[in-house]
Amino acid sequence: MKIKVWVNGKLVQDDIAPDMTLFNYLRDKGYKSVKCGCDTSNCGLCTVWVEEKAVLSCSVLAMRVDGKHVTTLEGLQDEAEAFGMMLASEGAEQCGYCSPGLIMNVLRMKRELKNPTDEEIKAYLSGNLCRCTGYMGQLRAIKKYMSQNGEA
């Protein structure tokens, strides 16, 4: 079936299989930042934005983004680097495999929550698994980033 979608601001028209997931669609189009860590919508690695809302791309059919705007980490490179290097200053990107999904959600949280508590941050990001860091270094970096002023 035919879809029309804006990926990172660029209009794309495609003919796709009706059972194709948004995850597979984006990977096939070369948006390799989008990762998959589970088969059960548990890990958060495949997080992207659809119309400025964080979604798990493994659990959305590609046809459902017809006419919509999709954002991946490739479309947020400056912000990804700004927060990402704070993460790296703590050593908390580690293997990096969960970083894109986490960063997509952190950048969303920055837009949605003002001065969140630690508990609010943890709750917002509870769907983003990480096996390397134990989450503490991530939290240190996130708190630094969230307390920064300026345009999100």
């Binding site: 990762k35 990804a80 790296a88 580690q94 990096g96 495999y97 970083s99 698994l129 134990g134």
Partner: protein
């Protein structure tokens, strides 16, 4: 120090956080054949017939391979130095399937849909055999799991395969019976640790292709590129010279990738078809068809006098290696060697074990590698002994723990040269506010908080076996290329080793270029496991840098016409003592590659006769709801002695991450099987690794010591950090509730049922 002992950002950080395509799956060519595996639905069966004719008719199917298509040379998938202690008990595909998930057929096709369809159309006829599902019933069970005639062990490991015994070993120092008879208190307890999954975020991924020389290229997420080359050459019955292994960036390993897992299948497809092929494991496959931590039942007997002096410790470990023997003979010993050694003052120590086969998924390497299981047992027993003796558990440790200068009896007589255990105990005790909180305090009418503690040691590499080599080259513009064979799996070893090189060569880190491993290019390294990278590979980097410095001075002497003894290496340049004559490294390097000169390349190997133990003390504070048994982590304090900390932020993350994994093992993670032998917990829905809501607050401190045999005084950190949470949390729960749970994970049900 300028670069060492600093919080240096990882060299690959920017690529990782901006989502660049750097992992195996990102790099695989789009024209790879899609490879998937048909897996056994039975725990134990013999394949009678495989009908693949209908499946082969699916458009786009390239080949379907079965046990009739594979080389008949048994091998082990364990990533260990040759000759491997693990038995050669596998074929790529076998006529027998030994656990639910064991591969039956390899299907390769142009696209996923075709392969999925073909998988459903293969008809297999099995003769179902009685499986061995309870590892305590494995020895002399009517079913023999490895009846094959060509089963092979490389050397004596106490193997009795017809009795389902993979390995049997033991040791005794001193007279254990005498020690117990002279004790005032003798305590005997049995502890049970479960199989857990490493659960790194990147599953197993491999792609393969033939290059222009007709050689098999294997790009794979592995911790052991050189072992993969050797193992695959044997499994595929081809010369090692025809195999090349490339390791790109890896999304975590924790030991899972110290075993060959996904590599043989696409490799066989590429050899059969000549086409590139790729196999990416799903999470479900990663759970049910790789390797887990060895499940162990450990009986501990400790004897002590009234004052708390430990007279003797005896441990017996029964370990479940599952369907295959990967890492079976090598993990089990650590449950004794790396636990009893803490109490080296005891007069007698005895250890014995059986490692048994069963029809569950093969166990393998997982951070801690047997020491984690043993630490839960012995440290829990120590905490029980403290109660028997009416002693503070910290005081009991202080009275008995090993000290610098001691020859460690249960650790090959190694002399301990660095030990910060006492400092770790004191610092951790303050951080957790032990004196204020021990043993427990009430929060409200049904919530109680308790504190608990444990200590541990690990090793730094495998003494006399691990070997690492490094090469370093000076290039024009005065930058260096550092070639290593150690596999960075996300821990940052490329960065840590570059830090050491920069420190030696007195330059900025950006002057050091490091790359991933390619067995055609990189110098040999046994691989990134056994906590060896910083300690063993680090020393080889230092040696290579020192040699390069010598060569640069010699070459500068030649180019400047000044005696080498009169020259000084200053990092960016070489000068004479007066500073009147200088040559930049850029000029030195440029001159050295024109005409008759010595190109400035140095290399060195390192192997260590000792494996100095890093130490850690862990303190847990938990809150238990006495009505529901629900346990919440409040605080975890870990204080680590890893010698000199090379990278302060990366070491902290290692410790925090290891503690979080330990919390998962203590409270949540448990691989269980149905009565038919099917794994229940094969997704993140059922195998719950901790989320950020589950770990409480983790605080880490370092008590640095100086290990004379290590690079800049460093010891290892990678594994020691996972060991303390299980016993410390069990202890904290006991202190809060009075309930001893001796079987992991410590679930609310077990607490409410009083530990039964």
């Amino acid at each position: 120090m300028k670069t060492v002992h600093q919080p240096i950002i990882k060299l690959d950080a920017k690529a990782l956080v901006t989502g660049k395509p750097v992992y195996t799956e990102d790099l695989a060519p789009s024209d790879c054949l899609v490879v998937k595996l048909l897996r056994s639905p039975h725990a134990y069966a013999k394949i009678l017939e495989i009908k693949k004719d209908i499946a082969l008719k699916v458009p786009g199917i390239e080949c379907i391979l079965t046990y009739e298509d594979v080389p008949q040379q048994r091998f082990t998938m364990a990533g260990q130095s040759y000759p491997e202690p693990s038995p050669y008990d596998r074929l790529i595909l076998d006529k027998y399937v030994r656990y639910v998930g064991d591969p039956v057929a390899i299907v390769a096709g142009e696209n996923e849909k075709a392969v999925d369809r073909a998988l459903k159309l293969i008809k297999v006829q099995y003769e179902i055999l009685e499986p061995v599902l309870d590892f305590e019933q494995a020895i002399d069970h009517p079913s023999c799991i490895h009846p094959e005639e060509d089963y092979h062990v490389n050397f004596d490991i106490g193997n009795e395969v017809k009795r389902n015994i993979c390995c049997k070993e033991g040791f005794e120092v001193g007279d254990i019976n005498k020690a117990f008879s002279e004790s005032d208190v003798v305590l005997e307890r049995t502890y049970h640790t479960k199989a857990n999954n490493q659960a790194m975020m990147e599953t197993f991924k491999t792609y393969t292709y033939l290059d222009y020389n007709g050689r098999l290229n294997i790009v794979t997420a592995t911790q052991i590129p050189f072992h993969v080359r050797r193992i695959l050459a044997r499994a595929l019955d081809m010369p090692k010279s025809k195999v090349r292994v490339i390791k790109p960036r890896i999304g975590g390993g924790f030991g899972a990738k110290q075993t060959v897992v996904s590599e043989p299948y696409p490799a066989l497809v590429t050899l059969k078809t000549g086409k590139p092929a790729r196999l990416f494991f799903t999470r479900t496959e990663t759970f049910m068809a790789s390797t887990s931590r060895h499940e162990m039942k450990i009986t501990v007997k400790i004897g002590a006098d009234k004052e708390g002096h430990i007279k003797g410790i005896e441990m017996y470990t029964l370990s479940n290696t599952g369907a295959y023997g990967e890492h079976g003979p090598t993990t089990v010993g650590l449950s004794g060697h790396k636990t009893m050694s803490l109490y080296n003052k005891a007069e007698a120590l005895k250890f014995s074990c059986d490692v048994v086969y069963s029809n569950t998924m093969s166990a393998g390497a997982f951070r801690g590698y047997g020491a984690t299981q043993g630490t839960f047992a012995l440290e829990s027993a120590m905490n029980e002994l403290a109660v028997e003796l009416n002693m503070d558990p910290i005081a009991l440790r202080k009275l008995n723990m090993l000290e610098v200068g001691e020859s460690i009896k249960a650790y090959y007589g190694e002399i301990l040269q660095s030990c910060g255990l006492l400092e770790c105990l004191e610092t951790g005790k303050k951080m957790i506010e032990w004196d204020k909180k021990y043993p427990s305090y009430r929060v409200d009418d049904h919530k109680v908080r308790g504190v608990g503690m444990a200590m541990t040691m690990q090793g730094s590499g495998i003494s006399n076996i691990d070997i690492a080599s490094s090469q370093i080259r000076l290039n024009d513009d005065g930058f260096y290329t550092l070639l290593i064979g150690a596999a960075d799996m996300g821990t940052g070893c490329d960065t840590i080793l570059a830090q050491m090189a920069a420190e030696c060569l007195e330059c900025d880190l950006d002057k050091i270029v490091v790359n991933g491993v390619d067995t055609d290019q990189s110098p040999y390294d046994t691989g990134s496991y056994a906590s060896s990278t910083t300690y063993v590979t680090g020393m080889s980097v230092i040696k290579a840098c020192e040699e390069l410095k010598e060569k640069m001075l010699k070459e500068a002497a030649l180019q400047l016409g000044i005696a080498q003894e009169a020259l000084i290496f200053e990092g960016h340049q070489i000068s004479n003592e007066e500073g009147t004559v200088t040559i930049s490294l850029d000029t030195l390097a440029q001159n050295a590659v024109v005409g008759e000169h010595d190109c400035l390349i140095a290399q060195a190997s390192h192997s260590s006769p000792v494996s100095p133990p890093p130490f850690m003390v862990g303190f847990a504070e938990v809150e238990v709801d006495t009505e529901t048994g629900h346990t919440e982590m409040i605080d975890y304090v870990g204080v680590v002695d890893c010698g000199t900390v090379i990278n302060t932020s990366l070491a902290r993350i290692q410790a925090e991450g290891g503690i979080a994994q330990g919390i998962g093992m203590a409270l949540y993670e448990d691989i269980t099987y149905t009565a038919e032998g099917k794994m229940r917990n094969n997704t993140f829905m059922q195998h719950n690794i901790p989320t950020r809501l589950d770990v409480g607050n983790i605080s880490v401190a370092f008590e640095s010591t100086y290990e004379p045999t290590g690079p800049f005084g460093a010891k290892s950190i990678g594994e020691v950090v996972i060991n303390t949470p299980c016993p410390a949390i069990a202890h904290a729960i006991y202190n809060a509730t009075g309930v001893r749970v001796r079987e992991l994970p410590i679930t609310p049900e077990k607490i409410i049922l009083g530990g039964e």
